[in-house]
Symmetry: C2
Subunit: 128 residues, 2 copies
Amino acid sequence: MKDFYTITELTREFDISTRTLRFYEDEGLIKPVRRGRTRLFRPSDRVLIKQIMRGKRLGFSIAEIRDIIDMYKSPPGESGQLNRIIEGIESKRAELRQKRKDIEDTLSELDQVEDACMNRLAELRVTS
Amino acid sequence: MKDFYTITELTREFDISTRTLRFYEDEGLIKPVRRGRTRLFRPSDRVLIKQIMRGKRLGFSIAEIRDIIDMYKSPPGESGQLNRIIEGIESKRAELRQKRKDIEDTLSELDQVEDACMNRLAELRVTS
DNA sequence: TAAAAAATTGACTTTTACGTAAGAGTTTTT
DNA sequence: AAAAACTCTTACGTAAAAGTCAATTTTTTA
């Protein structure tokens, strides 16, 4: 595994711009180290970027993605905080399950539409 | 089933603003009928709104939602068009499957985090 | 029928998530 | 060494998706 990635390596891998990566840094989602002024991204930053992209695909805002990423960070010592994290997880889970149901519903509706299209095509072949 | 819904009935049901519904009308997603200047929403508009909200939850843009909704409209007669719709459906399906995988991945990561929190809590109870 | 509540259009504003451009310094390639 | 490629900061611009406000109707309720 590589020690460091340059910013352009990552923009190419994830098909995003340097602006986007700098924006994510400003937003506190990633914290690349510096050699002089130049950013050096560690494998852990790369993992974070993967998680960010996944969140984006699911339609989460930057703030929501930050919340999720924060959950992944090593659990703190205090029990009140731990319980709050567990609550947060439960509520994210509910949201994700809703999204999954939305996907299932949409998929099955698309199946129906496709069937209708196929039938119409078959009809056309007979009628013509 | 009701014949018509007023705009506020629907804003309450879906927890959105009148501005949003008018925006969706401007965007051509819904076409409520009018009694004078006042909009009257039919059950079919209500169904469309449900589909819009579902698309929003999945992070689709208005344009993408419009594309999906257009697929649902009764299939046209011409076979070229039918084939294009089928292609569109296949590509949306791929996108939805990716989203579903993203959800599964996130869910199982959250499970792991929750386990870690629970273990930490158990530790605290023993140690204290 | 008068007052209150709901609806309309139109215009301007806001937030999010970057895009784009300027100007300058570094590193790499030729 | 000169050119090309990469990187940086700063700052203004933009598109999408509404929010907000104003100035009217329209409809409903008292």
